[in-house]
């Protein structure tokens, strides 16, 4: 792996996943490889214009967190707490024994507890303001998830929620990397969470034209790179990583799934929902990864970008920015679009994939794929051991309002 300075980056040592593809890494990986879509008709959206979604199947907050805690938390926080617990256990760490002052948590989220807010606002507008729950605001605010994970994991270092729409999870991972490299923390839990599948929110997304209207065939609805795509399917989920400096991970003989070798972020400063037509904001983090110490500058890059505007080609920005390279394509189809902050989980899939596992199939990849980008690199880094030849996989994420974040993932 020439060109990559080992030990100067940040290592992923733990993974937690609570997603429509399952609870826990193994369940997720199996489901992702199966290529079976998680989209389905959602009884809680009965009668709505768009009544399909990807929910986490069988998530029982009371069983996971206890009745005493579960009722006080909106689902976006519940999912994150369970995911964080998995990640810490997976990393071989224990919040009972670590120095919590050296641990931080940074989680991407966009819409917070909108289901709670909607329910309580309905009560308010029905003319019974005294019946509104005193927990409406603490359950609804986006920052609360970082605070609750900190409480659950006895984290006394920095806690933060990054809100950069679809880039939120990547922003969180990049922020965590900076905290570690600056010496602010020794361990950081970083990732994304979102659970915003409420009627009012989905109606708003539908009014934007962002949601697929293929409600008669949910499993075929999500096809972001197809000619006949008509929007995304809302999903929910949380994915949390444990990050440590590479030398610390090595010193304690921790398993390193992958390294976060680089991070950069830019803003389009162009439009509320549409990406820059030439992908200018996306090109800069990709082309000039100013904070990607030791990261590869070219070759073997695997790029990916997304946004919600159905009138825009999902690949237009990156194609303009990067030339004719093919996007990764894949789990966006399968798990739905975790309304905004789910890209943390997309990093997760890549991190897991970097460990020389088979390339997973994409649901509906064959179904009318627009194939706008060059397929020449299709096979690079796909098979077992291929990650060793691949100097770096880049994750590019574009968020509503022109937030762009780029991560460089390398094999550990």
């Amino acid at each position: 792996m020439s060109g990559v300075a080992r030990g100067r980056g940040v290592a992923v040592t733990g993974i937690g996943l609570v997603t429509p593809a399952g609870i826990g890494v193994d369940e997720n990986w199996r489901r992702v490889l199966s290529g079976v879509s998680a989209a389905t008709t959602d009884p809680e959206l009965k009668g709505e214009r768009v009544d399909i979604s990807c929910r986490v199947p069988g998530f029982d907050a009371t069983a996971e967190l206890g009745r005493r805690n579960a009722w006080k938390l909106d689902r976006f926080a519940q999912l994150a707490i369970v995911s964080a617990r998995q990640a810490v256990t997976d990393a071989g760490l224990d919040c009972g024994s670590w120095d919590g002052t050296r641990v931080g948590v940074v989680i991407g989220n966009s819409l917070g507890g909108v289901a709670t807010l909607e329910k309580q606002l309905r009560t308010y507008f029905e003319g019974t303001p005294d019946d509104v729950s005193a927990l409406m605001i603490p359950m609804g605010m986006v920052n609360m998830v970082a605070g609750y994970v900190a409480m659950d994991q006895k984290i006394h270092g920095p806690s933060l929620v990054t809100a950069t729409a679809c880039a939120s999870g990547a922003s969180a991972i990049g922020t965590a990397r900076e905290w570690l490299l600056s010496g602010l923390c020794d361990v950081v839990l970083a990732g994304g969470t979102e659970s915003a599948i409420s009627p009012g929110t989905l109606n708003g997304l539908s009014r934007m034209g962002a949601l697929s209207a293929r409600t008669d065939d949910p499993a075929a609805a999500s096809r972001p790179f197809a000619h006949d795509r008509d929007g995304f399917v809302a999903g929910e989920g949380a994915a949390i990583l444990v990050l440590e400096r590479c030398e610390d991970a090595t010193a304690r003989n921790a398993r390193r799934y992958a390294d976060i070798a680089g991070f950069s972020a830019t803003s389009d400063a162009h439009h509320a929902t549409a990406p820059h037509p030439q992908g200018a904001g996306l090109a800069r983090p990709c082309g000039t990864p100013s904070t990607t110490r030791g990261a590869p500058r070219r070759g073997g890059a695997r790029e990916r970008a997304r946004h919600v505007d159905p009138d825009e080609r999902p690949d237009r920005g990156p194609r303009a920015a990067l030339g004719a390279r093919r996007p990764g394509g894949g789990d966006l189809h399968q798990g739905g679009h975790r309304a905004h902050a789910g890209c943390g989980r997309r990093g997760r899939g890549r991190v897991h994939g970097a460990g020389a596992a088979p390339r997973r199939p994409a649901a509906h990849r064959q179904r009318g794929l627009a194939r706008p980008l060059d397929r020449r690199r299709h096979r690079r880094g796909d098979g077992p051991g291929a990650a060793e030849e691949d100097p770096g996989r880049r994750e590019y994420v574009a968020g509503l309002r022109g937030h762009n974040a780029a991560l460089v993932l390398t094999a550990a």
């Binding site: 005493r68 579960a70 019946d131 005193a134």
Partner: protein, 85 residues
């Protein structure tokens, strides 16, 4: 019913509600611990007042239930309100 048995019945009604809505063990509630010790903070006491009003028609003024109260102390306040009603 005697005043004592009314209060005792009220106590079980309230502890049942708290247990059901907030996921607390009734035995814990009846142990004489304060709301503070049971992680029932001021926000949750606002919720409790809301529930008492909706389920039992007892209207408490904000701040009448305190997190330093035990269940018995809270029930005494609630019983006094119920008498007024």
């Amino acid at each position: 019913m005697t005043a004592l048995s009314v209060e005792s019945s009220l106590k079980h009604q309230v502890s049942g509600l708290i247990s059901e809505k907030f996921g607390l063990d009734e035995a814990e509630l009846l142990s004489g611990a304060t709301f503070d010790e049971l992680d029932i903070d001021s926000l949750i006491l606002v919720e409790l007042s809301l529930i008492l009003r909706k389920e039992m028609g007892i209207v408490l003024v904000e701040g009448e239930l305190k997190s330093s109260f035990t269940l018995d102390e809270a029930v005494a306040v609630i019983a006094a309100k119920a008498d007024q009603a």
